[in-house]
Chain length 349, copies 2
């Protein structure tokens, strides 16, 4: 596949690298010629002439202009974009008469990084790629965008442009607003109180670290849809505040229970990790080579580590390693580690 | 130190193990005699007679009864608890005339686990332990609780009972309510929309998986304080919904910016990880022994892995390992890995 990518930023360059890895050819365009050169150098395989597919990988506010230009110059057979909202782009594309050859898209991958330097060819692997054909989109354009997504290892998901915008309002834009509101309220909290914050506050506010320049256009473009998602939450919040003032344990317990049910509806590994694996933890002395020693033991025991994470306790001489092992292997592995003078613990119980 | 712990659950047993490790002696009490026996067996060092300190490690609703009984029987010189709210316990303690010998506490550590089996002697290491003396608390009792916290590796933080309850409303209970409300709203979201959820939604709703039985009493006990924290957020939410409806990019950008500022006020490693380390990522083939091979290479290169996490892409043949290396070691390590036919990437840029 011959792909023209307008925008040699983090997303565009990562896409180009992934396409080249899958055997495709890529030509970059960017107002910043250094970015275009660097991206081209990282990707290698380029081509001349008309492309199969034109990908607009530019910020929201430039999307329609970039697609319009490419369409007027007839740069490719079909056109797509990577924008975070879809109905607005769709409307623009219909205005310029490009609707048949356009099929919008939105890969659910990204990063706080920008520019071509940090781009990664594995960015899209295993990630959903929402594809949003309109009623006017021709089958060839839809097929090309689908092929693009599959070729870079993404999982294509078909939604209408309207369905997409509602979905991202629900799973991304709405949560972003709530995280930013909560983090914003921390401005009014004493330092001594923030000192006792745990992982819960860090998790719930992590995305509040997002960039204003990225999010202001997304939130304003999809504003009405996000507002529709948040309004019932605002009503719920008032009811919960009343329950809190009344000390109504039953109503507050019901809120937690409803949250449990909603939380379990999110697909993915995070809901099921504890059921699928034996969890063990190992204290890791803060000396070089300890992980290597540990994994040599796992090799000797022929136990496969399915997941791993490390918790540092600043100022203490040891980190805590959390490991997921195949079911049934946890207890014996801990025993074997303890025999070898490691401090290891099972976490089930 | 001789410590009597009432409640051989996850917290109480973990505390007992930590005390024993630090050289102290522990006696457990629990209505569930199997739990008390198991906890005693894990800890080993017990004692007879009066304790230096009595620790009530029971659920919120039983705290005052357990402290009352222990005080009437004069089981120890001083008394403390591990409860999640403090003004209510303080009020009860004053009613029974135990205020001088009581100094409340709340270690900011925990887990979704329960029972003595999964208890961990390192649970409190590096964690804040809020200590809440009242004006009546005698110096010996305050000193004992402080010594207890220090001996198990925790970081003592002094707050008044009222200050504590406000702090946990701000950094824990309020975020819990918002996470549960957001997760609860996911009940109204289509499966096809949830399929595109990313890490942001998982992070913001993780604590919505908390147990109703734990949280209903906490939220109802501290309800008025939590409501006072949430009311301005509810007002902000209405203003943001108006901005969303108006598509007011400037106001929405200002929200994100305020969130950035609040987020940066949270202390801890999570705000600064990316600055302190070189981040690299390595694709890990789904075959046994790959981690061992990898860490052998790190040993050979004499590079110390400071942090590690693994991202599984379900259905794909490789996981993505994220590693933090000492500053300056990232690029050369990636190069060395690529020379050895690993797929490795630097993440800075």
């Amino acid at each position: 596949m011959k792909v023209i990518i307008a925008g040699a930023g983090f997303m565009g360059t990562s896409l180009g690298m992934a396409i080249a890895r899958a055997g495709g050819e890529v030509r970059f365009m960017d107002r910043n010629s250094e970015h275009a050169e660097l991206a081209s150098a990282r990707v290698g395989k380029t081509f001349e002439g008309v492309g199969d597919l034109f990908v607009a990988a530019v910020p929201t506010h430039s999307l329609s202009q970039v697609i319009d230009d490419a369409f007027q110059q007839n740069l490719a057979m079909s056109f797509t974009d990577l924008g975070s909202t879809k109905t607005n782009v769709q409307a623009e594309v219909e205005t310029i008469g490009a609707a048949e050859r356009f099929c919008g898209g939105h890969p659910m991958a990204g990063s706080e990084r920008s520019g071509p330097t940090g781009a990664r060819s594995d960015l899209f692997e295993g990630r959903p790629w929402v594809i949003t054909p309109s009623e006017k989109t021709n089958p060839a354009s839809l097929a090309l965008v689908r092929e693009l997504a599959l070729s870079v290892g993404a999982l294509p998901i078909l939604l209408t442009p309207e369905g997409h915008d509602r979905a991202v309002a629900e799973v991304s834009h709405g949560p972003q607003v709530l995280a930013s509101l909560l983090a914003s309220a921390l401005q009014r909290v004493d330092d001594t109180h923030l000192a006792i914050a745990g992982q819960g506050l860090r998790d719930t506010t992590r995305i509040a670290g997002s960039h204003r320049d990225v999010w202001a256009p997304i939130l304003s473009t999809n504003g009405a849809v996000i507002a529709a998602f948040l309004e019932p939450i605002a009503e719920d919040l008032h009811r919960v505040i009343d329950s809190l003032k009344a000390g109504d344990a039953q109503a507050l317990g019901a809120l937690i229970a409803r949250g449990n049910v909603g939380r379990e509806r999110i697909p993915g590994k995070h809901g099921s990790t504890t059921r699928e694996y034996d969890q063990i933890s190992v204290l890791l002395p803060d000396r070089p080579g300890q992980l290597a020693l540990l994994f040599d033991i796992f090799g000797e025991l022929q136990v496969n580590v399915e997941d791993i994470s490390m918790e540092h306790s600043p100022g203490l001489p040891a980190g805590l390693l959390q490991l997921s092992l195949p079911v049934g292997r946890g207890a014996e592995t801990v025993e074997a580690l303890i025999e070898r003078d490691w401090r290891a613990f099972t976490l089930s119980g």
